[in-house]
Symmetry: C2
Subunit: 233 residues, 2 copies
Amino acid sequence: MSPDYDLTQYQNPLFTVDSVLFTILQDSLKVLLVKRANAPFKGRWGLPGGFVDVELDDNTDMSALRKIKEKTSVAPQYLEQLQAFSGINRDPRGFSVTLVYYALISPQQVATQIDSVDDVRWVDLSEIPDLAVAFDHKHIIEKAKARLQQKALYSMIPVYCLPDQFTIGQLKTAIEAIISKPIQRKSLVRRIEASNMFEALDEKVKSGGRLAQLYKLKPDVDIVHFERNLSLG
Amino acid sequence: MSPDYDLTQYQNPLFTVDSVLFTILQDSLKVLLVKRANAPFKGRWGLPGGFVDVELDDNTDMSALRKIKEKTSVAPQYLEQLQAFSGINRDPRGFSVTLVYYALISPQQVATQIDSVDDVRWVDLSEIPDLAVAFDHKHIIEKAKARLQQKALYSMIPVYCLPDQFTIGQLKTAIEAIISKPIQRKSLVRRIEASNMFEALDEKVKSGGRLAQLYKLKPDVDIVHFERNLSLG
DNA sequence: CAAATAGTGTCTTTAAGACAATATATA
DNA sequence: TATATATTGTCTTAAAGACACTATTTG
């Protein structure tokens, strides 16, 4: 074997793939945590993830998806790479790299699955600071939340936290839960119109007052990125 | 050893760190390529990068920086993680992951170093499609360029492709080289003012017409993100 | 002075913010 | 009818686009 191929000269870092799975439940933002079955941090809550399985995964997207499916039994509606986190100290076993994805899913899709087990739980973002979390996963969750907040200002990705039929009120609530700020309903209506991503259904639904129009994503639409952010204030 | 720690049950993917280093040279966007000294793709042009050295690198940022310094002898003014690229087919040696950074540097900082060797070269972005490039690095360069273009619309990062003293005209030219579209000088002036990131020097400099005001970054400023994009057209 | 580039003034345009007004449910 | 929520209308505001106009330098 040529020295060019001598991979043993470098100690390959420990490489894992983890995911921050978000949803909106009870009008607030939740993240999926899993009770760790193995050391290190056995018994603590952590992000769903693990090692790449070269036999099963064509790439890391599939590793992330496979691990999410193991815990929720369904594929999320939205999945995107966040970033890698690495370091000499983040895992007691040595230099490690975790490639982190973040994902959005509607709570209905996973409700029965999650309610039936006690090692998987939706955790409110407000509980995270006080919770003992494995590795640097607390930090990772904060980064994922920041990215989601940013993206909510110039795109419609919060719809992927909702059922596929939803009202403008639900979408408004979801966005406000994500960014922790009220937004103008009118701005949202304008964006729904301008993006051309959605279609109004014939159906309307109860809401406590006037019936609300149901919308759904048009099939196979691309996500529109608006050229301005919603304002924070 | 507990089975929890049995890492041999998984074949750890091949992990590398690569960087797409950009600069502005002759009013156009260039990327730094390195002639590969080793297989695979020995002799082809590729991105600077390589394996993590657990002895030298505290994290992957330092791996990226170390490799860039090896080729240019200086640290870039801007360095940010782009994304990981992975797959079963992108490296003949098997499942591999490369964590890619992109970086910006002023050409003056590296000119003498690069001119003195023949295995490192600034390549114009327009040459990339016709060039034989190692691995999936052509695809990676396109992704890095897209990210840089996007970011140029709502931030001032193109200044990191310039010398630390620069004129508005130079910055305008740099942005236009990155996004391949003309922009309004007035918009740029307004952003320089609004961002409060820069200070005008006492000095002015020749430009072919009226003398141009020199600016520099204020020390330790954070990069401002504007709430709107410059328009494409 | 002509040409070139720098810098300013200002009107227009675009899309969001603010919020009033109207519509339609339920108790 | 009172209340709650949905929907629409429209005026204001913020920041970019367009582009004319002035300023300053060199040949």
